[in-house]
């Protein structure tokens, strides 16, 4: 009961301050007519459209420059952009302010509130409340804003009664467009409701402060779109690439013989496992710092599967220390099934794949320790690597292990090249999974990749030839994807 009473008091308080706020905005509006000042010519033909290809809540405005901007009297300094909002919006803005003050009190971070501001007086009201009362008030206010926002579209219909012009932004002279990007969050004060009648006005302002208003634009509505036309080139390439891949995979399934050139690093994997077996030493497989979401790690899982299968067949020991817990989970799954496939499920140990820590250099310290103490015959690094690549690869090289690496982190490739016996550069890592299995289906997709590369070369050659002529830019624009 007490809370409800308090809630009512706060609303009253807010509404009373609202009347002041309205006066303020009215003042701004009339200040345009000051007699001594020479008014500039107003900007003309204000028009607007709902911002295309977006999530809504935004309007693109454009206008014709005032004749006195860059010509005529040449007095225009800037353009002020206003939009009309119903009283409900102003009221909600105040409620939002008080919610943020309460949040700050709850989080004990009120220091930022400027002395003497409106928020400061709110702070005084709220600080007297107990913690649970604060939570209750805040929740009721949030509920109020939520309900109020639903009524905004309706309230906008009352134009021009029951509302005020609110200053949005200013643009320097010579500008004739403005994108009003509103917030989609109803809790934000920049919230712009979709499917509500919006009204805009642009004032040309001189250095003396004289203002001349354009025509009023509206009603205009914003809304979200269901298809982003800017991204059509991507649709085409997705379709083409998918078709190519599916075509070659089908072809491979039917038994077509697809050639792939040999890759040094891949051939070395089998030899390395054999070597480890002969020496009676383990194999260390490092998946890198990537998460299970990184495609490089996913490619590495496939390679790990092949390695684990061979290891199980040869009965060598495998060590897989991991950095990411989800990667650990997946890797356990991969290794376990590889042992199962090799017909040796009994040889699988749960701690073959184990978690170390989710801190880059602690992980490196631990892996270094493994290299020096377990003396693996072969170290395989496949996945995402960062600054630690060099420490790992050098320690391994000093310990005398055969090293095979592969990463798509361009900055780390040089270190692997220097310190490892074999390095898969960039795309070769992704190709490796297809290679190791020699599965026709996976090889099929390599073929599709190669066609895409051929396409790039052909397009680049055409483009370079066309770039010497005037219509080159139009060709380039075909591959332009605006954000």
């Amino acid at each position: 009961m007490k809370v409800k009473l308090l809630f009512a008091v706060i609303l009253l308080l807010l509404l009373s301050s609202l009347s002041f706020a309205q006066d303020d905005s009215a003042e701004i509006d009339t200040s345009a007519v000051v007699e001594e000042l020479v008014l500039p010519a107003p900007p003309g033909n204000l028009s607007g459209v709902d911002k295309p290809n977006d999530h809504g809540h935004s309007i693109d405005l454009s206008w014709e420059l005032s004749p006195d901007d860059g010509g005529g009297l040449n007095t225009v300094l800037q353009y002020d952009i206003y939009h009309w909002v119903p009283n409900l919006m102003l009221e909600l803005n105040l409620v939002r302010d008080s919610i943020s003050v309460i949040q700050k009190i709850i989080r004990k971070t009120t220091n930022g509130i400027i002395e003497g501001s409106q928020a400061d007086s709110m702070k005084k009201v709220f600080e007297k409340l107990s913690r649970s009362e604060l939570f209750d008030v805040r929740n009721s206010l949030t509920e109020y804003v939520k309900k109020g926002n639903k009524g905004l579209a309706e309230a906008c219909k009352s134009y021009p009664e029951g509302g005020a012009w609110l200053f949005l932004d200013k643009k320097p002279s010579g500008t004739s467009t403005f994108d009003h990007i509103g917030s989609k969050e109803f809790k934000s004060s920049g919230f712009v409701p979709d499917f509500a009648n919006l009204y805009y006005r642009v004032d040309a302002v001189t250095a003396d402060g004289a203002k001349a208003s354009s025509n009023i634009l509206g009603p205009i509505q914003s809304s979200g779109q269901w298809y982003n036309t800017f991204r059509t080139p991507v649709v085409f390439s997705v379709l083409l690439f998918t078709l190519l891949t599916v075509f070659f995979v089908q072809k491979a399934r039917k038994g077509a013989d697809l050639y792939v050139r040999p890759l040094g690093g891949i051939e070395a994997v089998d030899d390395a496992i054999g070597r480890a077996t002969e020496m009676g030493r383990p194999i260390l497989y490092v998946l890198g710092l990537g998460s299970a979401a990184d495609i490089a790690t996913i490619a590495s899982f496939t390679i790990l599967g092949r390695v684990a299968k061979k290891v199980a067949e040869y009965q060598t020991e495998l060590l897989v220390p991991t950095y990411d817990p989800i990667v650990m989970t997946v890797a356990q799954e991969v290794v376990k099934s590889a042992y199962l496939d090799a017909g040796r499920p009994d040889a699988y140990k749960e701690d073959t794949v184990h978690f170390v820590t989710q801190s880059q250099f602690a992980y490196v310290a631990a892996v270094n320790g493994i290299m020096l103490r377990e003396l693996p015959a072969t170290n395989i690094y496949m996945g995402k690597f960062f600054a630690e690549s060099l420490i790992l690869a050098e320690t391994g090289a000093l310990a005398g292990s055969i090293q095979i690496s592969g990463t798509d982190e361009i900055a780390q490739i040089p270190f692997f090249i220097v310190a490892c016996d074999y390095t898969l550069i960039g795309e070769e890592l992704y190709a490796a999974s297809a290679y190791l299995g020699k599965e026709p289906v996976l090889l099929g997709s390599l073929k599709a990749q190669d066609y895409a590369k051929a396409a790039i070369i052909v397009l680049a050659v055409i483009g370079v030839i066309l770039a010497q002529f005037d219509f080159g830019t139009e060709f380039v624009n075909l591959f332009e994807v605006v954000n």
């Binding site: 050139r261 020096l372 070369i457």
Partner: protein, 268 residues
């Protein structure tokens, strides 16, 4: 323990005790001996890690194992507050959020945040030998979501946009051969160098792509182009290597400064 390692241990222990006392005596602050201990500890761990360069030894092992344990717990504490309390709790219910003193984030679909909890619990099912297969569902969710995410976004950024930027004019300010030869110079912004550079970029990209061609034998002209490709790749890796070398050396300088300035206070 061997005799020599005992001696080493005793020496190190007494040196660090000495450092602690000295640092404690000359430290200013509310708790000088704590500060002295902490700086000495940090110096000990720094040297312990560096000793690894000589060979693996008990001090390195100690520092390494401590680091692993502490950092794992650190990640867990941080993850708990940033993700569980920061992201999950505020969506569950306003009562729970109030208890954790975070702002309840209103939403009509907050009920769906039960799903990641369920997925998380399914993931923990791994620990049970019977229901372990259930843990594949959350993994499938994560892999599927990110594969979809990467598929289109990389196609755009690494494929379409790259075609776009490879299309460059090979002839710059071309006004015929006479003009070209009469104005020829070797300055970096000159016509000759600019044209040569654009040619190198174009040829480099094409040959580089040919190097990554898998389904055709690298023989004949194709093999030669691929060879040019790997040359350009190697030059690039060298440049990147050299660049990083210079950057890393400054890091070492930073660490040595700590030892000599903050701990031993030899240099100021």
């Amino acid at each position: 323990m061997k005799k020599t390692s005992m001696v080493v241990f005793a020496t190190i222990a007494s040196l660090f005790l000495l450092s602690w006392i000295v640092k404690g005596m000359f430290s200013e602050g509310s708790s000088p001996y704590l500060d002295g201990f902490l700086v000495t500890l940090a110096a000990f761990l720094t040297l312990a890690i560096m000793s690894f360069l000589y060979k693996d030894n008990p001090y390195y092992k100690f520092a390494e194992h401590l680091f692993v344990g502490v950092s794992a717990a650190y990640a867990m504490c941080l993850g708990f507050w940033s993700t569980i309390v920061g992201n999950l709790i505020p969506r569950l219910s306003s009562t729970v959020s109030d208890f954790f003193q975070v702002n309840y984030i209103e939403g009509d679909y907050n009920i769906f945040f039960v799903i990641p909890i369920i997925f998380g619990i399914l993931l923990l099912m791994r620990l049970s030998p019977k229901a372990g297969w259930l843990s594949r569902w959350p993994l499938a969710f994560i892999v599927g979501t990110t594969a979809g995410l990467n598929f289109v976004r990389y196609l755009r950024s690494d494929f379409i946009n790259q075609i776009n930027s490879t299309i460059i004019p090979l002839l710059i300010d071309w006004n015929g051969f006479g003009d070209f030869f009469s104005n020829m110079n070797f300055s970096a912004t000159g016509q000759l160098v600019m044209m040569f550079s654009n040619l190198v970029i174009f040829v480099g990209v094409v040959c580089g792509i040919i190097y990554f061609y898998f389904s055709k034998e690298h023989t004949g002209w194709f093999g030669r182009a691929s060879k040019v490709g790997i040359w350009i790749l190697m030059i690039t890796f060298g440049a990147s290597f050299g660049y990083t070398v210079m950057g890393r050396i400054s890091l070492l300088v930073g660490r040595i400064t700590f030892l000599f300035k903050d701990w031993l206070e030899i240099i100021s």
